[in-house]
């Protein structure tokens, strides 16, 4: 038997592998989105037909290409993530198509594109990123090995945003390089998870097994809490410097959840929560913008035409929607040609969907987020080693917690913060970063990835056969 020609290891042997489950689910996504587009088109135009067949076609085409690419690559990656993300992205596309197109105008090569066109571009980009990573990433050593480098890069990015960032609405979140602008905090959340996964997997045994007694509490060795304190400081820094409550809340939430997942010690979470409450109280006392947010949260009706306006309008949108919603295209009454909620496409898509799809629709959307999270956690628990486990768990939690924070802000469960609704809000940075998350989860779900470092030296098995197990 002749040895097969040796291929570069990174690609390995390519043998197409059918992904029937994914194909079936994607088929269902296509049917559902077509139905949504039909509903939108019929409502808006008054004639029976799809609303934007071209946009829907491009989107579904991109999904099919992503599916086929994975089939050809032949990896045994997860088959549920892509359809779930695709469904959310499709709902986003329908929503952006029905909002006024001049909310966002981008010019490329002389012609200008409206909201839905730009969003479609980013959605296709995000699916591309996810698929590419899901196919190409076989080794995690580039993430695992350089975790401190990543952390440094993240902090650097943060500082860069502070120094060079453009201020919009009193928040310094956007970084501009010539024609390209982006929000680094979206990328930062991925970097944070990589760093935490690296740190926690390396020190997990210590954090779990050793104790320092402080009064009645049994705590892990104190020096290992340093990153926790550092994290806390970074979160506060983000609030102070960037005025970005949402990102701070997200980072801290993911951090606490991940540290609990890694160690199973509730005492750490408790400390974290106490630190968080202390920090929030101090912030609320020291900084006007934090206090305003909290006041508006407690009673938006105190200033219905000023600070509370957005939140109140969002609540009205939920109220108009009711149980079944008013239908795609039939809600969001425009006053003076504008949608009723300012920043509806970035901060309030959840409220918009609440009006048009109703509570029934919202619960379905929340369910899809939970599916993505469950899938990520499952990948994490099944992963071959601690780093991958924690990485997958962290990435899944980033999506879940971020969705929770902004949905809760829309519903007046939490103070409103400016994070995006993953896969649904308008915005390139957000979509690409979440595409990155999806891609990494896909790659991690492949059980055939390059194996983790063997438990011992390779010669560990030598002599096993001769000694005999029996």
């Amino acid at each position: 038997m002749a040895a097969a020609p040796s291929l570069p290891r990174i690609l390995g042997p390519i043998r197409p592998r059918a992904r029937w489950q994914e194909l079936r689910l994607l088929g269902l996504v296509a049917v559902a989105l077509a139905m949504g587009s039909l509903s939108l088109g019929t409502t808006v135009t008054g004639r029976f037909g799809l609303y934007d067949a071209r946009g829907l076609g491009i989107y579904l085409g991109a999904l099919m290409v992503a599916h086929l690419a994975q089939v050809v690559a032949g990896r045994r990656t997860d088959q549920v993530l892509l359809p779930a993300v695709a469904m959310l992205g499709g709902i986003s596309l329908l929503l952006m198509e029905r909002l006024p197109q001049d909310l966002v105008v981008q010019r490329f090569f002389g012609s200008s594109y409206g909201l839905a066109d730009v969003q479609l571009l980013w959605l296709v980009g995000a699916i591309g990123v996810a698929t590419t990573l899901g196919i190409v990433v076989r080794s995690d050593s580039w993430l695992r090995r350089y975790k401190y480098t990543w952390a440094a890069a993240g902090v650097g990015l943060l500082l860069l945003t502070f120094v060079l960032g453009t201020e919009i609405n009193g928040q310094r979140l956007t970084l501009e390089f010539g024609p390209i602008s982006g929000q680094p905090s979206e990328l930062l959340k991925v970097i944070l998870v990589v760093f935490l996964a690296g740190y926690l997997s390396e020190n997990r045994a210590l954090l779990v097994e050793q104790d320092t007694r402080v009064g009645p509490f049994r705590l892990p060795p104190l020096p290992y809490l340093a990153p926790m304190v550092a994290m806390w400081a970074i979160a506060l820094g983000i609030v102070v410097v960037q005025r970005d409550l949402g990102a701070a809340l997200l980072f801290f939430g993911v951090f606490l959840a991940l540290i609990y997942a890694a160690t199973g010690r509730f005492s750490l979470v408790l400390i974290g929560l106490v630190l968080f409450l202390l920090g929030s109280a101090a912030m609320a006392n020291l900084f006007e913008h934090v206090r305003t947010r909290i006041d508006v949260w407690l009673d938006p009706f105190a200033d219905p035409l000023g600070a509370g306006y957005q939140v109140i309008q969002a609540l009205h949108a939920f109220a108009r929607g009711g149980l079944l919603g008013v239908g795609l295209g039939a809600g969001l009454p425009e006053v003076g040609g504008r949608p009723p909620i300012p920043e509806i496409h970035t901060d309030f898509p959840f409220a918009a969907l609440g009006e048009e799809l109703g509570i029934v629709g919202l619960i379905a959307i929340l369910g899809i987020y939970l599916v993505i999270v469950q899938r990520g956690l499952r990948i994490g628990v099944a992963a071959a080693d601690d780093f991958r486990s924690l990485l997958a768990i962290g990435l899944a939690l980033v999506i879940g917690i971020q969705a929770f924070i902004i949905a809760a802000g829309n519903l007046k469960v939490l103070p409103l913060t400016g994070v995006t609704l993953p896969f649904i809000s308008y915005g390139g940075s957000s979509l690409l970063a979440n595409g990155l998350v999806t891609g990494l989860l896909l790659a991690l779900s492949d059980r055939g990835v390059e194996p983790p470092p063997p438990p011992g030296a390779q010669s560990r098995w030598r002599g096993l056969g001769r000694r005999g197990a029996a």
Partner: protein, 498 residues
């Protein structure tokens, strides 16, 4: 899993915990969505501040408002630019219908029924389908129980006085007249050409013409409150119609000593030394008998029976109403009274007791309708081209007292109008040829001001079809001002109806 790889196993447990916490958090979101989308839905989505309501107001002709005879009370008219504005039947109805102005918002029924008038709300199912029709709006015409004739008569009966009159059918709760004076011309506010000047003048007027006194004015009731005390006394079983107090005749001269304070009377030297019962005490409006009845009933039952008739909270009504109160509620005694002195004074309406004219009309209606209170209402049906007509039927607010108790109070109130002594206190309240029941009130305000003049009543006593409450601010004794107004209006209604 492998035993040798034990370090991985512990991850699964905490991860499941994290998943559970996140799921619970998501369930919380679904719950919050349910709260805003279902429980608070009507409240928010039909409020005049809602974007959909505002959007509709600019484009859709509002529904008309009609009285019970079909007289148009509010309709649309186009200005020079073709934009619509509202025209109203006349100043008499302004306190009920209110106004809808592009500059100054909305008031009255125009505000309360904004969503229906602008075509956004109504029958849930029809509305749900309407959203996808070619015209999503379905403005509804409102038909009121108001009789515009009677309303005009009530407003002119008050004349230059400040005051309020409520007339309703005790059997169905349909409000026939809801007059407040001074009134204003709502058409001037809704007309863009005159709105600015008209609104500024009204806001500066010290007589507060924009205040709907019948529903939002709170007044000391005086003796008309005795009917509430009688209802509570009989209802709770503290007294019977035959109850007398033997110290009462003596106390007429020197006053009744309650905890060191003297409740004084003295309006009726004619009753002599005979102790009065319910009918006798009501006929001469005996403060001492009612003070003792109140003390025997107790604060808890007095307040409790008042609350059965709507005291203590805004009334369930088509317009916003102020809450009437028996007491300030700050005291430690049952019902919130400070002490027995307050309770004794409240029993004849002279303590921390404040009532709206609408509330007092409901007290009269309760007695008239044999002890069962019907929800007061203005809008009796809504009609639109698309969803047809929907009738809003009568609705009971529950039985307050048994029929026998109501009959006893009715007899007392008849005696207060028709009795040889009673008619001296309620001169002019009698509808000629028809048995009339009623009770006058003179609400002392303290200080040097004239008292508020009150009358509540109903007719025909055998089978009441009309209940009335009349309040005239600072006009003197109830028998002299309010009672004749009530008599004239009931006569007009009953004779006109025959």
């Amino acid at each position: 899993m492998l035993g040798s790889d034990g370090s991985r196993r512990p991850l699964a447990g905490p991860t499941v915990h994290v998943a559970v916490v996140l799921s619970v958090a998501f369930a919380l979101l679904a719950g919050a969505a349910g709260y805003w989308g279902v429980i608070r839905s009507a409240d928010l989505a039909q409020s005049p501040d809602d974007a959909a309501v505002i959007a509709a107001a600019r484009t859709v002709p509002r529904g008309r408002i009609l009285d019970r005879a079909g007289t148009v009370l509010a309709r649309n008219k186009a200005d020079a630019n073709g934009e619509l504005y509202r025209v109203y039947a006349g100043p008499a109805i302004s306190q009920v219908v209110g106004y809808a102005s592009r500059q100054y918002g909305k008031a009255g029924l125009e505000r309360a029924y904004d969503a229906e008038l602008s075509g956004l709300a109504g029958d849930t199912l029809t509305d749900a389908f309407a959203k996808f029709g070619t015209n999503p709006y379905d403005p509804k015409d409102l038909t009121l129980s108001i009789s515009y004739d009677l309303q005009k008569a009530a407003v002119s009966a008050l004349g230059a006085h400040r005051g309020a009159i409520v007339m309703l059918d005790p059997r169905s709760g349909e409000v026939l007249a809801l007059a407040s004076t001074p009134t204003y011309d709502a058409s001037k506010i809704s007309n863009p050409a005159t709105s600015q000047a008209a609104f500024a003048a009204l806001q500066d007027d010290p007589a507060q013409p924009l205040l709907p006194r019948a529903t939002l004015g709170r007044y000391v009731p005086g003796s008309v409150f005795k009917i509430v005390t009688a209802i509570a006394g009989l209802g709770s079983g503290a007294i019977t119609p035959a109850t007398t107090y033997k110290q009462q005749p003596g106390a007429e001269r020197n006053g009744l000593l309650v905890s060191g304070y003297r409740v004084r009377d003295g309006h009726h030297p004619q009753t002599g030394s005979k102790p009065l019962d319910l009918v006798g005490a009501t006929e001469v409006s005996c403060n001492i008998w009612y003070a003792q009845t109140g003390l025997r009933t107790g604060g808890a039952d007095l307040v409790g029976y008042a609350e059965r008739m709507g005291f203590g909270a805004a009334l369930p009504f088509d317009l916003p109403t102020a809450a009437s109160q028996v007491t300030g509620g700050t005291g430690a005694q049952p019902g919130g009274f400070v002490d027995d002195v307050e309770l004794a004074n409240a029993s004849y309406g002279q303590a921390e007791t404040f009532v709206t004219p609408l509330q007092m009309a409901l007290v009269a209606a309760t007695v008239a309708n044999d002890g069962e209170l019907m929800r007061p209402r203005l809008v009796t049906s809504m009609t639109s081209q698309r969803s047809g007509s929907r009738t809003i039927g009568p609705q009971s607010m529950g039985r307050v007292i048994p029929v026998s108790d109501a009959e006893a109070i009715k007899a007392a109130m008849v005696q207060a109008v028709e009795g040889p002594l009673g008619h001296l206190f309620t001169t002019g309240a009698k509808v000629v040829g028809i048995t009339t029941a009623g009770k006058s009130g003179t609400a002392e305000l303290g200080g040097s001001g004239e008292p508020h003049s009150w009358f509540i009543g109903f007719a025909p006593a055998e089978n009441p079809t009309i209940a009335i409450a009349v309040l005239v601010e600072q006009a003197g004794r109830g028998g002299e001002v309010a009672a004749p107004i009530a008599g004239r209006l009931m006569t007009r209604y009953l004779k006109g109806a025959q």
